[in-house]
């Protein structure tokens, strides 16, 4: 095909420009606000926030207690609140119980503490199997749990989001929150991994 023009918009780019045109003309969106939202979710929120919540729960039993009783308030008190974090519940792993979070409907996820979900969390493969075959799914993530361990699967909704508090790794006695934070990965807070072991 001869290249007889300079610019070609990808069909999805053209569709988004069309949507932006319509919504701006009707006064429903403001391009500056759109840019601010993108900046927030590309650069400002991410799993580091959740890692700080978990590290505090490990280091401070009173905080862990507040997190267990009212996760929304405990997390908001650390400055992490906003969209898709309005109603939070923290679920704590124990030696007997492992928690796993999914959204079978679509992709509900606690944005203020984890940022936006990874691709696999949004994929039908994970969403359809996490409830029916959690042990297999976890094994595929490299997390093999003993048969004696109970796996609880939490299905997120538009109203309620979950944060897994993984078990504190052995060998971290006396560590401060900053050091503990580095052991808490995004996957550990979804429940597809354990917290990292101390190096």
């Amino acid at each position: 095909m001869p290249h007889d023009h300079d610019n070609e918009l990808d069909p999805m780019e053209a569709r988004l420009r069309a949507l932006e045109t319509v919504l701006t003309r009707k006064g429903l969106i403001d391009p500056a606000a759109i840019d601010a939202i993108i900046d927030t979710y590309e650069h400002r929120v991410g799993p580091r926030n959740g890692a700080r919540v978990v590290a505090r729960a490990w280091a401070d039993p009173d905080f862990a207690d507040r997190l267990r009783r009212d996760a929304t308030a405990a997390i908001a008190a650390m400055g992490f609140s906003g969209r898709q974090g309005e109603h939070m519940r923290a679920v704590f792993n124990t030696p007997q119980t492992h928690n796993l979070v999914v959204c079978t409907l679509c992709s509900c996820y606690p944005w203020p503490v984890l940022g936006l979900p990874p691709g696999w969390y949004k994929a039908p493969a994970y969403r359809s199997r996490a409830v029916m075959a959690p042990r297999e799914v976890l094994a595929e993530f490299g997390l093999t749990l003993p048969d004696s361990m109970t796996i609880r699967v939490w299905d997120s909704t538009a109203e309620l989001r979950y944060l897994v508090v993984p078990m504190r790794p052995a060998g971290t006695e006396g560590w401060d929150e900053a050091a503990l934070t580095d052991l808490v990965t995004r996957d550990a807070m979804i429940g597809t991994a354990r917290a990292l072991e101390p190096a």
């Binding site: 999805m12 053209a14 969106i29």
Partner: protein, 111 residues
């Protein structure tokens, strides 16, 4: 000690995905729909039998859900969006390289 998730996945694979995401957040903030209504619309698109198992088409379906919600709310008809997208594509082809693409550059634009 290195921080966790040293190379976290970028949330968006293309700028249009970020735009689509932000539009929904902005419209929800404005009260055009509740978040429960949005997840229901998105869930319906994602549950479609042709959805890819690896989720690679997630944001394409996100946009389809947005268009359905806009249609249901009487904000924009599907035909209107499609026609404008065509206009944007024509405007892009008519715009010399190095110049910002403007809808006014559409050679078929109404005067």
């Amino acid at each position: 000690m290195s921080p966790p998730d040293p190379a976290p996945e970028a949330p968006f694979d293309a700028p249009w995905q970020a735009q689509a995401f932000a539009m929904v957040v902005a419209l929800h903030r404005r009260g055009l729909f509740t978040w429960a209504e949005w997840t229901e619309a998105l869930g319906a698109e994602l549950a479609c039998a042709t959805a890819r198992a690896d989720g690679a088409d997630y944001y394409t379906r996100w946009v389809a859900a947005l268009e359905r919600v806009l249609q249901a709310r009487g904000v924009a008809e599907a035909g209107e969006i499609a026609a404008l997208a065509e206009a944007w594509a024509r405007a892009a082809r008519a715009t010399p390289h190095g110049t910002p693409i403007a809808l006014e550059n559409d050679p078929q634009a109404a005067p």
